[in-house]
């Protein structure tokens, strides 16, 4: 069976052009030079091997029944998706679409790991890859899911690749999900990531993300706190070096009373890398007892690297507690002095402070296996000769 919306979106795609820097505020800082979608060939991703247990299933769209397809159809049939070039392209082109379905009333102890690795062996051609993942967590369930998007092994390819991923998470009532996205890309990748989540009443979503590499990338996240009492925590970490450019935009929308959100994004830039973090927070009028915080810390290890922090807070309710903070700069000189008074030389103090900067987030990832790998990879990127 096929997703009914696909055909409709194919037609819609004819009407929605590739965005340009002048298209909207979202794309204002993105340089589309050398990005020509028609020049990319499609990467033929092997069919997903079906996994089905009494607690969960992971299936290709082609293995889904009409009820599940109808659920996905309804989920994706949104104005914002319908008018977005990259979402439309992903949904219409993706041959590797999967549906992760966690049943209601289950407590999954294991971490479900979804690996979206292109491992491109063919050199000398520009390839594109469109991983599409829909996740549904039923009511009263607990789960941990890690999604890995990786083409870092394609380092030798000189041609551009285009990674365009789309993930939608539906979190049921009273459920808890810890979701980790790890994106590690080759330095020739144009990458566009769309993550949308919707959280129902009294659910708890912890959204961790780590991204590194790529040539130029845009990461867009939209989190809807739809149900009363829904809680959302967003932890983000990024390390950029060389000439990497990453424009990361997060939007948290509180749709109900007693909802709580907190964002902590940390970024390290070095060489000539450029990272932008835009944090949108929207609390419409008439909501009660909403708590929201947004913190963004950036460390620049070289003078030629750039980190930008752009907070955009739209708060129309009065019964709201909000906190916001951002820093952009070098290592805190007082922390540095403190460690030096404890006998650490300049290099060691710098090393431990950078590691601590990263650890404050990584220590909170419950996928410890992936967390260890991430820390090691980041250290390798910051201090290439030390690892």
């Amino acid at each position: 069976m096929e997703l009914a919306l696909r055909k409709e979106f194919q037609d819609q795609l004819q009407k929605v052009p590739v965005p340009q820097s002048t298209s909207s505020e979202t794309w204002r800082k993105f340089n589309f030079k050398n990005f020509n979608p028609s020049e990319f060939q499609k990467f033929q991703y092997p069919e997903w091997t079906k996994v089905e247990t009494s607690e969960y299933s992971i299936k290709s769209f082609s293995d889904l029944d009409s009820k599940d397809l109808e659920f996905i159809n309804k989920l994706l049939n949104q104005e914002s998706i319908r008018n977005d070039y990259f979402s439309l392209t992903n949904i219409t082109e993706s041959q590797s679409a999967i549906f992760v379905d966690i049943k209601s009333n289950v407590n999954l102890a294991e971490v479900l790991r979804i690996v979206r690795s292109t491992r491109i062996e063919i050199k000398g051609s520009s390839l594109s890859f469109f991983p599409l993942t829909i996740i549904r967590v039923g009511n009263n369930s607990q789960a941990k899911i890690t999604e890995i998007i990786d083409n870092s092994s394609d380092l030798e390819t000189k041609d551009f690749t285009w990674i365009n991923s789309f993930t939608y998470i539906h979190l049921g009532e009273n459920s808890q999900l810890e979701f980790l996205t790890k994106q590690d890309l080759s330095n020739s990748s144009f990458h566009f990531r769309t993550l949308i989540t919707e959280s129902l009443a009294n659910s708890n979503l912890k959204n961790n993300q780590y991204y590194t590499g790529g040539f130029r990338g845009k990461i867009r996240q939209t989190h809807y706190l739809k149900g009363k009492g829904a809680e959302f925590t967003g932890l983000g970490l990024s390390v950029s070096s060389g000439r990497e450019f990453i424009d990361s935009e997060t939007e948290v929308i509180h749709n109900n009373d007693h909802t709580t959100s907190s964002i902590l994004q940390k970024t390290i830039v070095k060489d000539k890398a450029h990272h932008i973090f835009t944090g949108n927070l929207h609390i419409p009028a008439g909501l009660k007892k909403v708590i929201a915080s947004q913190v963004n810390h950036n460390i620049s290890l070289t003078k030629s690297a750039r980190a930008e922090s752009i907070p955009k807070l739209e708060i129309f309710s009065e019964d709201v507690q909000t906190a916001h903070g951002s820093t952009v700069g070098e290592i805190d000189p007082e922390q540095f002095f403190y460690l030096q008074t404890r006998g650490l030389d300049e290099e060691s103090a710098k090393h431990i402070l950078i590691e601590a900067f990263l650890s404050e987030i990584i220590d909170q990832f419950s996928d410890t296996k992936e967390a260890e790998k991430i820390l090691s990879e980041m250290k390798g990127k910051i201090w290439p000769t030390k690892n």
Partner: protein, 251 residues
Amino acid sequence: MTAILEIHGLHAEIEGKSILQGVDLTINPGEVHAIMGPNGSGKSTLSNIILGHPSYKVTKGDILFQGTSILDKSTDERARLGIFLSFQYPTALPGITIPNFFRTVLKNIRGKEIPMREFKQELKQGMKDLEMPDAFLQRYVNHGFSGGEKKRNEILQMAMMKPLLSVLDETDSGLDIDALRIVSEGIMRCRTEQNSILLITHYQRMLNYVVPDFVHIFAQGRILETGDKDLALKLEENGYDWILEKSGIKS
């Protein structure tokens, strides 16, 4: 006998503003010196300068540690020589857990890795002495600590680093009566005939536990008067005005 610390005619400034204006001080092994003075007198500046804080510039005079000038030594070199500073406001180090921090610090101070078993025993004993719960081991250094917890952690470092000279900058501030006793007893446990303490404080109350051999009154960037522990009692009773008037600072 070589003095642990000798400060001769020390002048220092920050961003062109003169802070220390001719400090002279000698501390011998085993001695406890207390520096007392009003707010803004330059007491904390002195402690930062002894440790070589990069924001301050020494314009005149010298600081000798065990007979050798340390002015050209970096902060970490001074720490490894055996000078310790307990901060008035210890900075938080989110992301660095207490065990990781101590292991790294001790490796640098002692110049070698300490076997894990030995390290754990030493840390646990130090924490027990200062009545710090085991839950501290899971926490980041000074992150979310109360004022009292921060000061205990400073004295725990003093106990484990075993410095020759401990500069304690207002270690008594922010402590309730019980915490003051625990922290003071912790300081006293570190005392030997070889090491010395320079205690900077506003109040006399810690000096009931850490009894000084000398009390110095500090104002306008220099020592105005030196006496024994009774001088601290006199200050507690009469305040600073009499000494400021005597020195011609206040009329």
